[in-house]
């Protein structure tokens, strides 16, 4: 594994999933979201958002922009578009 590749942990509490991910720190957040799409299969009105600490990760930025380091835990939150809906 090169220095730029780091292992991180992804947690999706909504789907009760935990993933170990090897990612290049120069990859964009978007790259990871694209990879997660077939796995989590959000609905048409939903979207995947990644949280790290108290930050929502901007999909246009890279992992290194957020000081994401080896072993960092990133939360996957599946948001529903269109805001609020009745149960």
């Amino acid at each position: 594994m090169s220095i730029k590749e780091i292992p991180i942990i992804l947690v999706c509490k909504q789907k009760e999933k935990t993933y170990n991910v090897q990612v290049n720190i120069e990859s964009s957040i978007e790259d990871l979201i694209i990879e997660l799409h077939p796995l989590l299969q959000p609905g048409n009105q939903q979207q995947i958002v990644l949280h790290f600490g108290n930050m929502i990760l901007n999909s246009k930025k890279q992992f290194k922009d957020y000081n994401i380091v080896k072993g960092s835990i990133i939360d996957i939150i599946i948001y529903t578009h269109g805001g609020i809906f009745l149960n």
Binding site: K13, T18, P38, Q47, G53, S59, G83, L86
Partner: protein, 575 residues
Amino acid sequence: MDQPRQPFVNQNLKFLWDKLQIRTQNGVIFQYPSWKDQYQVYNSHKDQYENIISLTHKYNEMSEELFWGNQSETIDVLIFNQDIDVNPENAFKLMGKNPVISYYHNVSLLFEEKFFKHIQIILISPKNNIIYNFENKSIISTYSSPYLNDLLRIFIKKYKPQDQFKVEIVKDFYINKFPHIQVKEPFQNLKPQTPQCRLVDDKQTIIWLVDTKCLKYYLCFEPNFITYYGQLNENYQKHGRGILFQTNWNDYNPNYIILQGNFENGKRNGIMLKFSSRSQTLSHGLEYLDDQFIKQVDLDQNGKIKVAEIVKVETQDKPISTAPKKRIIIMEEGVIINNKEVTQNDRQRALKSDIFVKFNQQFNSNDEKILSNRNSWLNSSIIDGFALDLQKQHFEQAFNSNDPIKNFNTFVIDSTYLTSAAIDYKLVTSLKALCFEFKGLTIFDVFQNIVVVVNSNNSHWYLVLVKREQQQGVYQLKFHILDSMLGPSKKYINVCQKIFNLLTFHLELDANYRFDSENNIFVEDVQQQNDASSCGDHTCFFMYQIFNGNNYKEKNRKQIGEMRGMLYNLIFGQQ
């Protein structure tokens, strides 16, 4: 705040000075001598001085403990030598053979500057005491002797007569008993403290004294979104141990920085621990010299330097030599699960080019449609984004006003606190960033208004304004309901109880805080909505009024009608 002091580093030799030892990456090279080693030197007086030698040994260990545990600024090294009274010439001559002196001699050679700043040597004999303070260049002695200066020659390589230490002869014994550690008194019902506003380094700063009984710690709010908890010097500059919480705003998005370490006269100095959040996740160490960033240091989970090797931070303008490797491997329970190629369809679905992040929320064209259409309900991104912006403005306005203490009075807790357990630490982070974890001061001392944004069953928005009142020695939390579709107070019991429980848990509020069920819920007579979609607009209006010190009970349908336009400009406008 009991984070241990970081080891001192000798950058040239890659040596670390830590508690009772000097080590390199590969192991310990000098260690404080054990009691047995010291004992052998004085073996001839075994019975007579056994007790005192043992006590000096214990004292020195305790002194090191206090220093590296950050409860003392100096290590007071006690050296016992009974010959000082009877044969001072010989006593000072043989001083260099004392194993304790030898150890600190090595410290002085390898960490010269730190040694002179932090070490004080106290020679004791059955009749006399002599204190050598290297920083103040003073010798305080209970007797006069031409040999007093001899000890200095051991530690100062090029001893110059003009640098002679000032010798002060005192009559009384300095030490007639061994010092003991001051035991911290537990906090009792402290009266709410009064902050003061001072100009520190030309910046208006709100300063709270957190602890008056033991060590003096302060909680300071500075402009530019800086909160500091730690020690100050006489000029109220950061000095000593402290934690700095800073929010940098970049493209309307906050970037939280939490640094813990040593400050000297307001400047960061030495290795600071950088936390990725207040959840105790240590990311790495940053070394500063006079507030200037020097380099990044790898730390282990205990905050110790992993290796003496320093990793230089890449600068942004450094060209990237090779194209980044893009492949991402996702594993679940040890099995690679993303081994299929991502199809164009997946890519298109995942990529929503109109997505952007502002105010730490994600928005897209759908939010634009919501804000352009009065019949759509506002979503959490819009409301929480607005809340963050109001908090930011509040901070700025308070410090630009004539009375920052009075005007810095409102704190908002966004809707994710109650709706998404997955990210509840987000609030804990921001609250703890304001140092509410520290005993003796709570969020309610600093802010009179705690605004909680509530999303009720995914179908309705309203605000709960939490205030504290002292009644008969206990604190009652009062919940004011600002709801544009108000109901009886009973309706809000569950939500208020939940807020009370979460605040009690996360802010570690003590047993003095009470929630007296329905009696503490006040449903306020606020503007009511006359449609089925504007609860979010009303909620934003109430929030706006509170943050701006206006009357939230004001009936102003026109202004509420303008909220959506204001939100649109805020999120989609070119500001």
